[in-house]
């Protein structure tokens, strides 16, 4: 079953793949470490709230933190043991800062919680119930962005096609490839569940054409299941095709509107790893407590893919791969293009950890000092968002924030292609990241000053209204006093009393205004 045609997305790069060695090794499940560190925030959206306290015993799969909002996901204990602390611990995040984590000392029993029942036939549940199961299992996108999957599944009616993204374009990452090779039936089952949850009957699984084994395995599983709604498509291996906007363009020729999302044009993208996690959650009753991580780079003895419990420190992964070599220089989470550096190997594996690169000096060579831009335009040639990076750089450099908006800075996906082709060695992506934070800060400042102005104006209006009411009340009283003119003394006393009251209020007001 093959598709009549594919489209192209603009730009992109052919990068040298470094996945041959780790992808050829079988998937290895590593043992549960003595301590698990589970960050409360492992996904895009609001941080979860802990529902356990130190000293409490927890079981494998037991919820230990609940979502605090709509765009959020549960956290589950990834093995049995005792909660020893809920405290700040270094987490894998570009900021390098510590964040609140639940720390579990494991007991080695790996005792299951049993709160989630396996499901014999997913067809007995409807879309809403399936989505609830996905949400209860804390599944988030496993492609690296970690967006809560159940939220995406609420995309609504009118979808044309589900797209499963098996196009890993980063040069070092191969966790999806190994998953497709070793457990294609899990991906297939996930696709079927997702189709039912979305109430549509068309799915396309995209795999890069340099991964024939993954494709064959998946096609065999689909044929064995007699599944006709699902089609596997080979796509050219061009970075950053794994970006959903780029993949949708390649598969359908359509573009996702800049301020919109794929469902706006009838598509929904999930990573193949996410589909497998959905299958495990819905059919197996197993919440998201482990994932596949590619551990690779010249700094690790035996690069390979590991099935790892969430919360396992990176150091344990490296140890399972034969330890560091003498060449180990840098530690990255994510790929070489979009990954970020980790300060040390005590940080835990989280839901978004698709790849750990222990880079040697050869993997990452220092950049030459930046030279002036010579306007060669190569950055625009490779930009998958069809931006003009050199103009953006120019305006970012000059601090012209309004022009950055005009040149669509926020459409930059930070893929790094422009950096790679820039003969002047300019750190363009860094500039764009920085410029985005500047724009965010400006918008925040604007919002804050708007709020302050509104507050000031409403206070003034309130004070004026109060004064007006007082004036009216005084007039009424004067009128009433005039009416009671008969008793001169009483009238005088009344006037004196009223004057005193007014004077007192005025003093009060003055004191208020002085404050």
């Amino acid at each position: 079953m093959s598709r009549a045609r594919l489209w192209h997305f603009h730009g992109g790069l052919k990068l040298d793949s470094r996945t041959a060695r780790p992808a050829s090794e079988p998937l290895l499940e590593i043992p549960v470490p003595p301590r698990l560190v589970l960050p409360l925030s492992q996904h895009v959206g609001q941080q979860a709230e802990a529902v356990v306290s130190p000293g409490e015993r927890v079981l494998r799969g037991q919820p230990i933190a609940r979502p605090s909002g709509y765009v959020a996901a549960k956290v589950h204990a990834s093995s049995s043991g005792t909660v020893v602390a809920i405290e700040d611990h270094p987490v894998p995040h570009p900021s390098g800062l510590a964040a609140p984590c639940i720390i579990i000392e494991t007991d080695g029993l790996d005792e299951p919680w049993g709160g989630y029942e396996p499901l014999q036939d997913y067809c007995t549940l409807d879309g809403v119930e399936l989505r609830a199961r996905v949400r209860a299992a804390g599944v988030v996108g496993l492609g690296g962005a970690a967006f809560p999957t159940a939220v995406k599944l609420g995309a609504g009616a009118g979808l044309k096609m589900l797209i499963l993204n098996g196009a890993e374009c980063e040069p070092y990452i191969c966790c999806d490839e190994v998953l497709l090779k070793e457990r294609p039936e899990e991906v297939l089952a996930g696709a079927q569940v997702l189709l039912r949850a979305l109430e549509i009957d068309r799915c396309c699984i995209a795999i890069e054409e340099d991964k024939p084994l993954a494709r064959q395995a998946l096609e065999a599983a689909i044929a064995a299941a007699g599944e006709t709604r699902i089609e596997v498509v080979s796509v050219p291996a061009i970075y950053p095709e794994g970006g959903e906007r780029q993949l949708i363009k390649v598969l359908t020729g359509e573009e996702v509107p800049a301020r919109g999302l794929p469902p706006d044009i009838g598509y929904l993208c999930h990573n193949v790893g996410t589909a497998a996690a959905v299958a495990r959650a819905v059919l197996g009753g197993e919440p998201l407590i482990s994932r596949i991580v590619t551990v690779t780079g010249g700094g690790v003895a035996r690069p390979r893919n590991l099935q790892v419990r969430l919360g396992t420190p990176i150091a344990a992964l490296v140890a399972a791969c034969g330890g560091y070599t003498d060449e180990a220089r840098h530690l990255l989470m994510g790929g070489a293009m979009m990954g970020f550096p980790l300060p040390d190997d005590s940080v835990p594996v989280v839901k978004a950890t698709n790849c750990v690169v222990v880079a040697s000096g050869e993997d990452i060579q220092p950049r030459a000092p930046a030279m002036p831009c010579i306007r060669c335009g190569e950055c625009a040639e490779v930009c998958p968002a069809q931006l003009l990076p050199q103009q953006l750089y120019w305006h970012a450099h000059a601090g012209e924030l309004d022009r950055l908006d005009e040149y669509h800075l926020f459409d930059c996906i930070e893929c790094g292609c422009c950096d790679v082709v820039c003969p002047s060695q300019l750190p363009l992506t860094q500039y764009f990241r920085y410029a985005k934070t500047e724009l965010w800060a400006r918008d925040r400042d604007r919002a804050r000053s708007d709020l302050a102005r509104d507050r000031f104006e409403s206070r003034r209006a309130r004070i004026e209204a109060e004064q007006e009411t007082r004036r009216r009340r005084l007039e009424e009283k004067t009128r009433a006093a005039n009416a009671a003119r008969g008793d001169e003394d009483a009238r005088k006393a009344m006037i004196d009393e009223a004057l005193e009251r007014v004077q007192a209020r005025r003093d009060d007001d003055r004191a208020d205004d002085d404050k």
Binding site: F9, H10, L15, G96, R245, K249, E255, P257, A258, R259, G260, A315, A328, H330, L331, L332, G334, A336, M337, M338, G339, F340, P341, L342, P343, D344, V357, A359, D363, I364, R367, A368, M371, P372, C373, I374, R375, C376, G377, A380, E381, P384, A385, Q386, L387, L388, Q391, H408, D411, E414, C415, G416, D419, V420, V421, C422, P423, S424, Q425, T429
Partner: protein, 340 residues
């Protein structure tokens, strides 16, 4: 274990300004050889003088501006400017004219605007235009391509001292370029067919000139293959010359030379592949480059046919340099996901 912080993407840039400029210089080697073959070693002297002055000016300006001198000299951009300028000068150019052109190109057209990347005008063309309009007579004395009239030593002596050997006069050693000759003869009411029978002319264009053009184009093909330049500007420049030239030639072949003559004469090829493609002063988007290149081509034809100069490449390029910000503004590509 602790690790050093790095910045994504963690993939080193594939090229450098030095490499880009180096490839441009490399691509000019065959054309240089052909040039020397037809017009003698004068080009090499001009190159040496222009390069020396350009590098000295660049170093001095960088030092005055408080920039790191050596790293920026190594980008080879000053050298490229000097070599392209030398390519435009006649073989018998006194050293001080070459030096003036090179110094103006670097100091005024480049460093005064902020150095590499900031110059709105092509420095080599700015330098050439200054000497062209300041010393028009010296700029039209070309050696005939029919055989060496001066040896290496005599050429060098002229370049340095401005003295011709023995009793030789200007008329004995120099002549007009084919473009110049064509203009003059057309104004004397001769037809293109008659004019092109003369010994200055070869198969398509001027004798010698057409071969040099072929080697320039060869160098251009190399740059295209190496992805140093993209096809848009060269193709647009050549089309910009070809289309109006073909139109007028079809109307009146007696008064207008064939379009192929324009393509291989003068600096058309050099402009298409090496001058108009200077990224700093050219338009940036694909559409913009097509507009920019085509307009340069048309201007070349217009200046040659009805303007005051026999070639016109330099003026065409500088005029379009001025238009670049406007072209860039009106040819911005549509961003992904934004309506056209």
């Amino acid at each position: 274990m602790k690790f050093a912080a790095t910045v994504p993407p963690h993939v080193r840039p594939r090229t450098s300004v030095t490499r880009v400029m180096g490839e441009v210089l490399l691509a000019l080697v065959p054309a240089t050889a052909a040039w020397v073959w037809f017009f003698g070693p004068g080009l090499l002297y001009n190159m040496a003088i222009a390069a020396g002055v350009a590098l000295a000016c660049e170093a001095g300006a960088l030092a005055l501006r408080g920039r790191a001198v050596l790293p920026q000299l190594q980008d080879l951009s000053a050298l490229v400017t000097a070599i392209l300028l030398a390519f435009c000068l006649p073989p018998l150019t006194p050293w001080w004219i070459t030096a003036t052109g090179a110094a103006f190109a670097i100091l005024f057209a480049k460093q005064l605007y902020g150095g590499l990347g900031y110059n709105p005008f092509n420095p080599a063309m700015a330098g050439y235009v200054v000497v062209l309009i300041s010393f028009p007579e010296a700029m039209t004395r070309w050696l005939p391509p029919t055989g060496a009239t001066l040896g290496a030593w005599e050429t060098l002596r002229f370049t340095l001292t401005g003295m011709l050997p023995g009793n030789l006069g200007w008329d004995a050693v120099t002549g007009a370029t084919p473009l110049d000759d064509l203009r003059t003869q057309l104004s004397l009411a001769r037809t293109v067919g008659e004019i092109r029978g003369g010994e200055l002319y070869g198969l398509l264009g001027g004798r010698g000139w057409e071969s040099i053009s072929a080697f320039v184009a060869l160098g251009g093909a190399y740059l295209l293959w190496r992805r140093i330049i993209r096809w848009h500007i060269p193709v647009a420049v050549l089309l910009g010359v070809f289309v109006p030239a073909a139109f007028f030639w079809l109307i009146n072949p007696g008064a207008y030379p064939p379009p192929t003559f324009h393509l291989v004469s003068g600096a058309t090829m050099l402009c298409a592949f090496f001058i108009a493609t200077d990224p700093v002063s050219a338009a940036t988007s694909r559409t913009g480059r097509l507009v920019y290149g085509f307009a340069i081509g048309v201007l070349i034809f217009i200046i040659r046919s009805w303007g005051g100069y026999p070639d016109g490449v330099a003026f065409a390029v500088l005029l379009m340099n001025m238009a670049v910000p406007a072209i860039d503004h009106f040819t911005r590509p549509r961003t992904y996901g934004h309506a056209g």
